[in-house]
Structure formats: C-alpha cells, structure tokens
C-alpha cells in the first residue's frame, strides 16, 4: 500500500465512526487549545516587550551606573576594608553612588565606547502651561537614537538649540490642549528648585506627543539642551565636585560589535567599576518572568494533552478491535506489519492534526476576543499590547508536538494491530 492510500484509508476509517472520532478530536482540541492559549499569552507579552524595546531603539546604548559592592556598611557581610579607589554602597538608600566627571572620561576612553552622555539629575517641581494648574511630573532625558513612539509631532532634537519636550498622552488635556495635534508647537513651563531652594522656571516647546510605553511610562522627554540648562541653573553656586555627580550615563557603542564583543565591553566596564546594561538586558528580567509564567501554564496544557492522548489510545484500541477481521484480511492478502502499524498511527496523527488545526482557529478567535476585552479593561494602560499572539512559527511546533503525542499514543494499539495473526484475526467473531 502506498503512503497516499494509507492516509486515505486512515481518513476513511476516521469518517466511519464519526461520533467517536468527533469526541476524540474534541479531547485533543481542548488540550491543544489550552496549550495554544497559554503559549499565545506568552508570545503576546513577549512580542509586546520586544516591540517596546524595538520601538525605543537605541540598540547602541549602554546605561552605565556605578557598580557597588556588597550591601554597604549596614549589610550582614563581613566588614570590608576601605579602599579609596572603590565606590561603596551608601547606607542611605535614598542616595545612590554617582558618576563624576572623571568617571565619564574613564567610560568614554574605554575601547568600543563612542560617546558618553550623562543624565542630569533634575527633578521638576511641576509642569504647567499658560492658564492651567500645576502638575507633578517626572522627566526622562532623550538619548540619540532613542526612538520614542509618537502619537503626533516629532522627537526632540537631543542637542538642538531650542528647549524641546515631548508630552506623555495623559498630560495633553491636563495642560489644556484640545488634542494631540493641538499640543504640538505650544509652550509648557516647568519649575525647578535652585541651590537656595528658590523656584525658577524654564520653558520648552512641545514638539510631539508620546505614545504610552512600558519603558517610558508617563515620563515626559526633554532634550539634552533643556536638561543641561536646567541642571546648570539648579546647581548654580554649587562647588564643581558636588555638581558633577550623575546618577547614570548613556554610553554609545559601536553597533558593529558582535554579541561577544559587547559582552567583553560590559566586562571591561565592570572591571573598571561600572555596571553597564543595554535596554534589552534591563528588560531581560521581564522576559524571564513571562517565560516562567508561560512554562507554568503550559504544564497544565500538557496535562490536558496527556489526558487527550489516553482518549486516542482508547479510540484506537476500539478501532483495532472492530476491524480485527479487516486487519486479518489485509495481512492475509500480503500487507506488511509496518504498513498496518502506519495505518493506525496515521489515523491517530490525523486525529491530532485535526484537533490542533481546529484549536488553532479557535485560539485565534478566542485570543482576538480576549485581547480586545483585556485591552479595554484590565490592560488598558498598555497601549499596543495584544494579550494573545499566535505567530504561525510558534504555533507550528505545537501542532507538530500534538501530532507526535498522538503518534506515541497510537503505538500501543497500532502495535497490537500489526502483530495480529491473520489466521486468528480471520477467525475472530
């Protein structure tokens, strides 16, 4: 019997006992659907994180902070000797060790680093626009190559002449702008405290409205020019050694670096006492959490599939029993054991395939509905998040896995069929 006939015959056998086939496929369907939905959630969340990272861009940026050793003087570790060259963790948790001008130079001189831009520690007291109330605000500082997704307008020019800012969507109406487009080109005012505690204001032009993202949240983005000016004014009169203190810096590296070279670069910086992470690294932890949750959920799905595979075993045993004489006849007429085995295992594989395909369709529909509901309720703060994603490439292995499980489930009954003695089988009543 050739393979085409085997598949056809197996398919015909499935059609013969429709109800039984339907029930068995249903069991596989349930398991497959569960597995696809759980994988779909994982894929959806990961896609979201990836999109966020991609949207933000800045693949050539390392976020550099001071690497601290141990838990500082109050930790339970053994007391460490004082080393003037090493920074130590500060017992005061509200303050982190900072990068000095010398540190920046050191980072900049590291091979592979193209440029270093410090982040100025400026905290605005408020933001407002003419005739509006004052609101608290957090600011982020634009980095060259950082691609903040926008709803309208453009990105700030990082080192442009003018003071520029992009607004998070939540601030548009609060600051009295009719809509996103209307906000572009308007002026906002931010208030800062200087060294004496007096509030001074600095104006900036709104050049764009941001999309809300995982990474930026509700922080507004100012350009370097604005940040530096505000910082200089806020630290006016402060001695230089106190002024040149930066919480973190962004180091640009050569994008041509291989993964290994990047790793080496991070290590070199680590050896110099700095902690360097790409955005991707920082989001790694989120990915790990998603992976853990997905794996956990998948275990349940696999249990459901295991249960379904017993259904397949049962169905096929019944099928073998019912068709004992037919099998006997085929063997008497010269059909080999291998082909008989194949006939039944392909029957099972087809059950698996149908269950998986129907589940894929159902998962897509349910996923779409689920994503819609979730993005309107539970997850409405995460723009662009589709809770479920079913990329074919991640679904294909599931379909194959289910077919493999079905095949394995079939081995027992198919073996029994293959080993049937034709004489006994033909005598079977």
């Amino acid at each position: 019997m050739n393979y085409r006939d085997i598949v056809r015959t197996a398919n015909a056998n499935l059609r013969k006992s429709k109800l039984r086939t339907f029930l068995t496929i249903s069991a596989v369907f349930m398991g497959a659907l569960t597995l696809m939905l759980t994988t779909g959630v994982g894929a959806g969340l990961k896609t979201y994180v990836d999109e966020q990272v991609n949207a933000v861009g800045a693949k050539d940026a390392l976020i550099v902070t001071v690497k601290t050793e141990g838990g500082g003087p109050i930790s339970n570790d053994n007391p460490k000797e004082y080393d003037p060259n090493k920074k130590q963790a500060i017992a005061d948790f509200t303050r982190q060790p900072t990068l000095s001008k010398a540190d920046l130079d050191k980072i900049a001189s590291t091979q592979g680093v193209l440029s270093v831009q410090p982040f100025y520690s400026i905290t605005p007291e408020y933001i407002t626009s003419s005739g509006q109330r004052k609101y608290q605000v957090t600011i982020g500082q634009a980095v060259e190559g950082l691609n903040q997704p926008l709803k309208s307008g453009r990105l700030v020019k990082v080192n442009g002449e003018k003071y520029e800012v992009t607004l998070p969507p939540a601030f548009v109406s609060k600051l009295g702008f009719a809509n996103d487009q209307a906000a572009v080109g308007k002026t906002v005012t931010m208030g800062f405290k200087d060294a004496t505690g007096t509030i001074f204001t600095q104006e900036a032009t709104v050049v764009g409205v941001q999309e809300k993202t995982l990474i930026m949240g509700n922080a507004l983005n100012v350009n370097n020019t604005f940040a530096k000016a505000a910082y200089d004014r806020a630290t006016l009169g402060v001695p230089d050694f106190q002024k040149d203190q930066y919480g973190l810096a962004v180091a640009k590296f050569d994008t041509n670096l291989s993964d290994q070279q990047l790793k080496d670069l991070k290590k070199t910086l680590a050896d110099k006492g700095y902690d360097a992470k790409t955005l991707d690294d920082q989001l790694g932890i989120i990915r790990q959490v998603i992976d853990a949750i997905t794996t956990f959920l998948n275990i349940f799905a696999v249990i459901a599939l295991a249960a379904a595979s017993f259904g397949i075993v049962n169905t096929l045993f019944m099928s073998v029993q019912e068709r004992t004489r037919e099998i006997g006849l085929m063997k008497a007429l010269g059909m080999g054991r291998g082909k008989i085995f194949m006939l039944f295992s392909i029957e099972a594989v087809l059950i698996g395939l149908w269950g998986a395909i129907i589940a894929l369709g159902a998962a897509n529909i349910l996923g779409r509905i689920g994503s819609n509901i979730a993005s309107k309720t539970l997850l409405k703060d995460f723009e662009g998040l589709h809770l479920f994603a079913f990329p074919f490439l991640s679904m294909l292995p599931i379909i194959i896995l289910i077919m493999v499980i079905a095949f394995l489930a079939a081995t027992l009954p198919a073996r029994r069929a293959a080993k049937l003695d034709p004489i006994d089988a033909l005598r079977y009543e």
Binding site: K16, G336, L426
Partner: protein, 230 residues
Amino acid sequence: MATLIEAKQLVKTYGKGEGSFTALKGLDIAIEEGEVVAVIGKSGSGKSTLMHLLALLDSPTSGSVSIGGINASKLNRKKVNKIRNDEFGFVFQQFFLNGDESVLSNVVLPLKIAGLSPRARKKRGLEVLRAVELEDKAQNKASDLSGGQKQRVCIARALINNPRVIFADEPTGNLDSVTGKKVEDILFTLNKEQGITLIFVTHDEDLAKRCQRRIYIKDGQIMKQSGSSK
C-alpha cells in the same frame, strides 16, 4: 506439469508442553500447476491448518513448504507477504467484505496493498467484476449484495492479481446449493480457461467429487488420496 506447491514432512504443533496439540503429524503433499485439489476432512482434522501452511499464512513447526521450488521458510516476512499478494488468491467462507465500501473498492484491495495507482486498480477491478458478471454492481455497497453475489465479489478479489493459485476455504459453506453450484462453476471455469490452480478446503463431498484430486485428512495425516494430477 511443474510442481507448484510442495510440502515435506509438515508438522504443526500448537502450544507447548502437556497442553500442546499437534494438528499435522508429518505430512507430504505436492500440488501441480493447474491442478484442482480438494482437501477434505472433518473439523479438527487439520485440513485448515494444512491450508494455512500451504498458503504461507502460518509457518510449520517442522518440515518445509516450497512455492515454485523456493523454500518459503527461508524467505523473510516481506517476501512471503509479496508471494501471497502476487501469486495467491483467497476465497473464504465468511466473505470478509467491507460492507460500508463499494464492491469495486473491496475487489481492488489486493492491488491497493500492492501499491498500484487508483486508475490501474479501477481498470483491473472492472475487468474481474465483468468476469464474475457483477460489473453493474461496481459502485454498490458490498453489504447490499446477496450471499451469492458477495462470494462472486470475493472470487473477483481473489482473481484480481492474476494469481497462480486460489485457496478456497469452504467457499460454498454459506450458500444454498444452487448459488453454491454457480460459484463453483465460476472457479472451475477459471481453472479451465486460465489454468489457475485451485485448492479447496471443504467437507462437502459434492464439491470434492468435482475435483481432479481429493486428499482426505484425518488426525493430522493423509488418510487416503483419490484421483490424480496426471
């Protein structure tokens, strides 16, 4: 005429130890090409066991079966399957038709097993159905046929691979005498016109009388033979 099937010192024992049962006790038999042989015996005589061994459906405990001079016990399972598929035809008392399927697809089963294309199967299937005068029933469901028609379908199925020998195990056992006679006639005509060797296993004396040679089996041994191949 050449010897088609030759069995030497056939012994077949079922089971082991005290509970064992020897169905055949050292039996020699030679069947010539084109012969019509009836193996006659009561149930439990060993006649069915003999047929199973000659048809290579089972292997003997000792002794040998040769087909066309080739010792079948030396062949692997695949080659034995091929011999059954290529050179043997089977007609059973209980028909063994798949009632849900069409007459045609029942008839072409051996060719499907052989791996022939659907087109070639259909062509040959209609040919053999014509030979048993059932061409017009080709698309009917097998379960819709009468007993005699069913057995004719079985003959068509046995015929489809142009076999050298047809094994018929009580082919008329489930049929009334008129229908049974008609089925026998078809088989004997095949022997006459196409030279196909026929081996009947039966306890029907009337059928046995129509055969060239009759081999009577009792208690696993040949009791007597009558008629001859010559």
